[in-house]
Symmetry: D3
Subunit: 289 residues, 6 copies
């Protein structure tokens, strides 16, 4: 079984609904879409076509669908592609039909989610494409937008990336400060193992090959090789010999990722794909009857 067989990612519908309600409330404020209330009669109907204006990988269509449905269940949203699809400029993503007032009022929330998440997916896909010839996979970090972690992690999966831990609570990641307090890598890993349940993975960050050697003896699940140049990474891969999963981080970008991936590491983590990916430009053309 290859990666390609993996099922498409999916967001739990209850999370989608809560996210969309929060965003609609933020945009509607206390008085709602006063421009539309002033100019569009209650009975007017509209049809809108959502299309990508640039090439990219789509993520967030269920959020867009929910934005319209929460605003008014009478709005009919038909997706034309699935999340995770790479589309060309001009590709139609969805068609929405129904009451014009509700469609106009939900438009921006739908586009804000879709544009941002497609931006994350597109950035992830761009990195993933460059290293498709290696064993390495792109993974994310906790450097996400406050409040959007679950949906940004989902967008990373849509872009072909793999998810790092979701929060402080679902995996152990031992960093320099933890090591310093514990008096060494081995001691820190031992404390982590003593504390964590058997369904919690333990990762340890190391800066040098000496630390890596110490870490390997203590048997973490994953070692994070921080800011090592490709040559050092290659030595690390050799030293490790498959005993633990290796993740590389630091200075990861479109220009550097190939050299990192070709060292043989398993995962390459990038904060850039969530904290700095530009939005994918998506438009909504509306016709009102």
């Amino acid at each position: 079984m290859t990666r390609m067989d993996a099922l498409p990612p999916e967001l739990p519908p209850v999370l989608v609904r809560d996210a969309v309600r929060m965003a609609l409330a933020e945009d509607l404020g206390r008085a709602g879409d006063i421009t539309t209330l002033a100019t569009i009669p209650p009975g007017a109907r509209a049809r809108a076509v959502m299309a990508a204006r640039k090439a990219g990988t789509i993520a967030g269509l269920p959020l867009a669908a929910a934005a319209f449905a929460e605003m008014d269940p009478a709005l009919h949203f038909q997706p034309r592609v699935a999340d995770g699809t790479h589309v060309a400029p001009g590709a139609v993503l969805a068609v929405v039909e129904g009451p014009a007032r509700a469609l106009l009022a939900a438009e921006r929330v739908a586009l804000n989610y879709l544009g941002r998440l497609s931006g994350v997916a597109t950035a992830t896909a761009e990195l993933a494409a460059r290293i498709a010839h290696t064993r390495a996979r792109v993974t994310c970090t906790r450097k996400t937008t406050p409040g959007l972690r679950a949906v940004e992690k989902y967008a990373v999966r849509c872009g072909g990336g793999s998810n790092h831990r979701y929060g402080l609570d679902d995996a152990i990641l031992i960093k320099d400060n933890h090591i310093a307090v514990c008096g060494g890598v081995a001691s820190a890993i031992a404390r982590a193992r003593a504390f964590a349940g058997h369904l919690v993975r333990v990762e340890v960050e190391v800066d040098t090959l000496d630390q890596l050697a110490e870490a390997l003896d203590a048997r973490p699940d994953v070692v994070l090789l921080d800011n090592m140049p490709p040559d050092t990474l290659r030595q690390a891969v050799a030293m490790t010999a498959g005993r633990v999963i290796l993740e590389a981080s630091g200075g990861v970008g479109p220009d550097t990722i190939v050299a990192i991936a070709e060292t043989g590491v398993d995962y390459i983590s990038s904060g850039w794909i969530t904290h700095s990916a530009p939005v994918l430009d998506i438009g909504l053309d509306i016709a009102i009857d």
Copy 2:
């Protein structure tokens, strides 16, 4: 009185507190910072220095302060600069001291807010600096991150920008669809005036100088000149002769903003400063006793 006299922007503390609690809950999940719980004794104390790794304009220090205070009121946060300050690489932004466990657990939330908002402020300041010799000001849009509108709008002000409306409810912005349903610019503005209270401004978006002429007769507060080349903008400024505020939008970026600003428009709106500004790289160096 000049712009320089304007008081510094400020976020209502109750909004800051709610934002930070949401983000802490998201990161702590159900079990909290298990790595720190496993490795750092309850009594340990720490001192951390927050510093910019790149040059930029800072925004979000009150959110960072609140992240630490909400996690543990015993954490002492001392800002060394104020929001809105342009800093050089290496500049110390704040020092935090107190219980090590709480400091480590709140670190990422503090940095995620501070990095993102400083990114928005830096992008805004960059555009603003380029057009400082003109009458034009940079302004934002509703193309913000779901859930972060208030804080991103604040970051725009920290970067020297001016705020556009906050939601669908606090100003009228008549666009093509509204005009089409009303049968023309004049009719749409009349309906808006009839609907809106006297403390609501009315803006209308026009694509052509003919539409502008029609709009001027109907006396909106603001006209949005969408996607017009500089020459057309210049004609629009001449036609308007100061009767309404003019805002230009479309294709706004570091390379194009000067030409737009030099046409004499009053505001230039950019979605890019909120939806696509890269994060400002800010680090936290921690020493634990």
Copy 3:
């Protein structure tokens, strides 16, 4: 185009739903409608007629509808009039049919919203009717019931009034304390203009014609003439000569509003219509099968 052409007011459905859920939870407490649970079998069905017991202007039918629908989607609510209608005593407002238990449990929430909002609409309509021969419109204030601002503002529109700002954040209203700190009306307006975005209106409150003169030079959007006798208001209207919108406030009531309106001011604001309007008496007659 006249005022009469304005579209009917509408509350965003998501706000309606949240308001109604809060009120139902408040009334149901922890155990629900124990009287009904004790006496009405689960399968019983009921039909109820909602009628006005006094003449008045109706506001709040969408909230009443939502109260029943949120309690049980099987309840069928048919409005017989629209919000904003002036009705005679005995007029049927709506008919509700469906499960008797749910109908009885939601009755009080529906009536509490409908009675209060119709009270606000009726008070507003009463003032509006008295000044229909003038250019002046009735407008509201921020003296609303905590938690009900959006729906009370909506009721004001149903009564033919116009809305003042919704909160501290959507318009500038400079009062005596702000002026005192800034050292004068002109300085305060200048600071406001420097701070506020171009989609924010600026209103300034003045007590004397001297202050009005100073204000007019500083070009606010609106001047609030506070507690001026009709003669002074008339002078203010003459001095202003249409350059800004004029709002009068202070001592506004059914007995005084005509004299104020006939001075030529544009808006007359009344806290009374929201903070002290008596409820409109509305009853629900229920028949259970």
Copy 4:
């Protein structure tokens, strides 16, 4: 022990805090008090005196105090009277000192609660004063403002009234529809007793003396005599002979309550004191350093 010995009413502080936060969020919106941010420097301090402009009975000072404290704990609120006090026009109710920005931003929320609740307390006290020579006490209903039930019930106590049930869940109140379905008063009371726990009182509403007779045999805790003229009420009191508590309702107002109270009933319920009491006019005079 007489009624006078009863301890003063008190709102649970956690409820006060939640109520005030909701109201502040409603007023601050997404951008906060932009007028104050534009005109008052961050460091300015203010002193405010809160005074009644009309005579009345005060209720809500803890909510006013909390409004200022939640906005900024540095605001110092000193009440000068206690809730439940009847004050003369001009009476100072409280003094507030501290940061000017926070004081101005919280002012309206504090006054909206205090004015409305003092209005309820004043209306209640007015009715109570008229019947002080009788055994009857004024009590309230569920005809309260959505979201404010707990605080309005508290205001009724401040005005010397007694509280009816708080919701559908804390007492049984059998009305005509329940009786009709059960086939009679006795059967309805029996079902209620079979359903309700032993800490739940059972009240039944009757329209005639025949129904009263039937009810008395079934031993409810309270009988509600609905819309009976004084003579009939007097007969009902005689028939009952102290076996159950008697509550009168219908047409209760300042002009009618004395005649009702002198019939010898125990409680007289009024919806007017919560749904239609005008606000008590209270002002806040602020001086900023």
Copy 5:
């Protein structure tokens, strides 16, 4: 009319929905059911049979139904028994059909509610069955699980028990500390009567027959006889002679309840039925197409 005629208990649907959403959010976390997402295709459908593995009294089917419906309205839940039914081992309680992913994701929440509440109902029914030959009824306490009071009280009713007060606010229960401060039972009851509305019952806890005598003179609604041996309880019943309701508490369990009930008290309260009842073992067998 006997107790048997009482209508079946029912939870307000709005409370059910809120409870279930909270529990689903708790279980789904930030990423949802990742096992199911990884292994079950989106289109798969499933059929599940919910059955009791042990004999017991069922409570919570509406919560189970809502758990599936909130996860996905396409899940069809058919209850085969009603809450309050005593079932034998193996009894089918419900059948669920629909999308496999949603069914698997909601399974644990449905079972956690159903198992716990059926455990409470079963424990209650066990005590109730032992004293069915007496006039006494089993009642509960406020010793419930934080957050589950309403649903646990409902389960007590499903088990044939009667509910004690729901919170600190819906009935008066005077205990030793209150009596001590007031200077005696009579004074405490007088203060309670002076404070509480006429729809609030007053119960007083006594430890001795002397205190009971003092209490009876003061006419509470209920007296709680705490930790009295059967002989003393019998004397208390004789002394009381039906003037007030008598509740016994302390040392209540399957082995002691008969002797307590046969003394003639009206209610016997047990914390054990809510705080220590073991779960009823209920399983869900799922077949996926």
Copy 6:
């Protein structure tokens, strides 16, 4: 490093605060502690001693502390033991001093959390003590009380147990239905690995040694041996030879756990410790000045 060196468990304070507020709101309802308001003067002060009435392992003191602090910050809570301590009957757990009204109002919430969580900790400690001579550790399940998962998991750690996954989202647990759809253990594990990030552990449940053999080839992190008798478990341990972690489940109780543990498995999971552990009896003796 041994298990004994593990740091004590700790709940994130922000989670504690939210949990306690919810529980206080549930108990205070709309009117607060009316008994106390009626009988205890506002200025009264109290001192309370919290003591165990039975032997057990304590968990939940931070929640008890927070219950008092949230009710009134003036309440001073001094713990006398730490969570995780095994205490004898009569052991003093904490002393609380401060305003009597607040102390009485918060008492039940504090005790409900403390009793329930100490019950979970005591049950866990009981199982753990029996198998202390083996390598096996007690672990929990997702069979927790809705809404209390985080705190019950914490109580398990206080009792010396280890935590299983917290929700559906933080680890993969492949069960029979997932295997059936995937067509086998190996295929299911492969799909899980393809889907899950590198910080997610994968556990698979097997019923037979044949399935175990298939599973071992597919290299999960953990294998759950469901309902196997001790002899089969012993064979499973031998077959596995330390290649994966082995967890046993099914029929786990005080009587059976020793035989299971002595087979050499690593973890033994028990739903009983969270869903059916009786409360630990803890009392609060209060003296009011």
